[in-house]
Amino acid sequence: MKSPMMLGIAALDPARDLKAPGRPDDDALAAILGSSRAAIPIRRSPRRAVLAGAAAAAVVAVATVATVTSLGTPTAFAGWSAVPTVLSDEEMTARAASCETSAHTITDGADGPQVEDVPIGPVLAEERGEYTYVLLTGDGAVGECLVVAQASGATEVVTGDTVLGAPPAAPGPRDVTTLQAGTASWSQGATGDGALTSAFGRAGAEVAAVELTLTSGERVEATVHDGWWAVWAPGEASLRTTAELRFTDGATADAEVAVDR
């Protein structure tokens, strides 16, 4: 096979001097190993579900979880507050800068697995203590991203997760839909692990506020912004399935925030 001509071609290889050995402690490998292998993330409590219909879809969603910061200690979410600070669109864009910009699907093509990107962008961001939670959506895709500010002012992704599925149905004006509710946890070898309880979905046009209750009894105010609602709490917490909605006219009503499966 190695004729003089092929050897001559080998010498023209632009990458022949490229050294890129893979090492077991490479960060990029750790990020992959820290991500879920399953269509439905494997370290989720049973109550957490992906977008309705996603499990039945022909495509398999890839959940990507990048873990950088250790949240293994009980004080890790110190400063978390039951009332969020809602961020402006400008701040949201800045803090989402290090979040995923697309969700991926893998489909079986004729010549092997095909990866497809679905672009996602931030629609809601809320700050509780040191942490900012960003909700990202795209065409049939949603993502969550928890970031923390570094000393330099840049943001660092603590955990992120993207899921593909059927586009969410728009709720009635005085109703909410729930796309995800539950606890995600992650681990990355000995260096860092943590857990995040979150819930999010669509909010009708007349929904002004959503208040949820942790199983500990503590009440938590969700953020409602631009037709979406979202809430998150430290991982040890979990959420009750009934939320109180407050409408733009001041009236209130209870709503279920469990995921329909």
Partner: protein, 178 residues
């Protein structure tokens, strides 16, 4: 589904053994800034599909990398065709004796006249060091098909490299005009 601990071992081993090969494969096809992303995405697919990865992982990984590249091409429109790039023109005087330099220049010119498809099969063998069977796996074709393509590509390369340079440049202009 492969059990978790075993899965981590398998992927780590694959990363250690194949990272360089996959990186080189990708680096020949895209701008340097994008190489790491494409490589990571390729191994992410392997992670998700460990059950599907054959024992000889390299052709499978290169095939996935190729699909990931094609996806980026479609999604972002920022990739040129999957054409394999050639080493940049060397500086004069760095190529050794004149006759070697002349041969090299002929070969370079011939290479540039090949179609992307011809270049790809040759590169899989000459640069990625794959066998016919492995190369076929990357492209998702039968080994016999790959063999035929490789033989034809080599014939064209040989023919082009034997042409006087004036003829070659006329031919190239004709090809570019197509």
């Amino acid at each position: 589904m492969v059990e978790d601990v075993r899965a981590r071992e398998l992927l780590t081993q694959m990363w250690v053994e194949q990272h360089e090969a996959v990186t080189r494969f990708v680096a020949r096809r895209v701008a340097p800034a994008l190489v790491d992303d494409v490589v990571s995405e390729t191994f992410l697919v392997a992670w998700r599909r460990l059950d599907a990865v054959p024992e000889d992982a390299k052709p499978w990984l290169l095939g996935v990398a190729r699909n990931v590249l094609a996806t980026h091409l479609r999604t972002h429109g920022r990739w040129r065709a999957l054409g394999v790039r050639l080493e940049r023109e060397p500086l004069p005087g760095t190529e050794g004796p004149d006759d070697v330099a002349a041969d090299r220049a002929d070969l370079r010119r011939a290479w540039e006249m090949l179609s992307d498809a011809d270049r790809e099969v040759i590169a899989l063998v000459a640069w990625d060091g794959l066998t016919t069977v492995e190369g076929a796996r990357v492209l998702g074709v039968r080994p016999s098909t790959f063999s035929v393509r490789l033989t034809r590509a080599r014939k064209r390369l040989l023919a082009y490299s034997g042409l006087p340079s004036e003829t070659a440049s006329v031919l190239r202009k004709l090809q570019e005009a197509r």
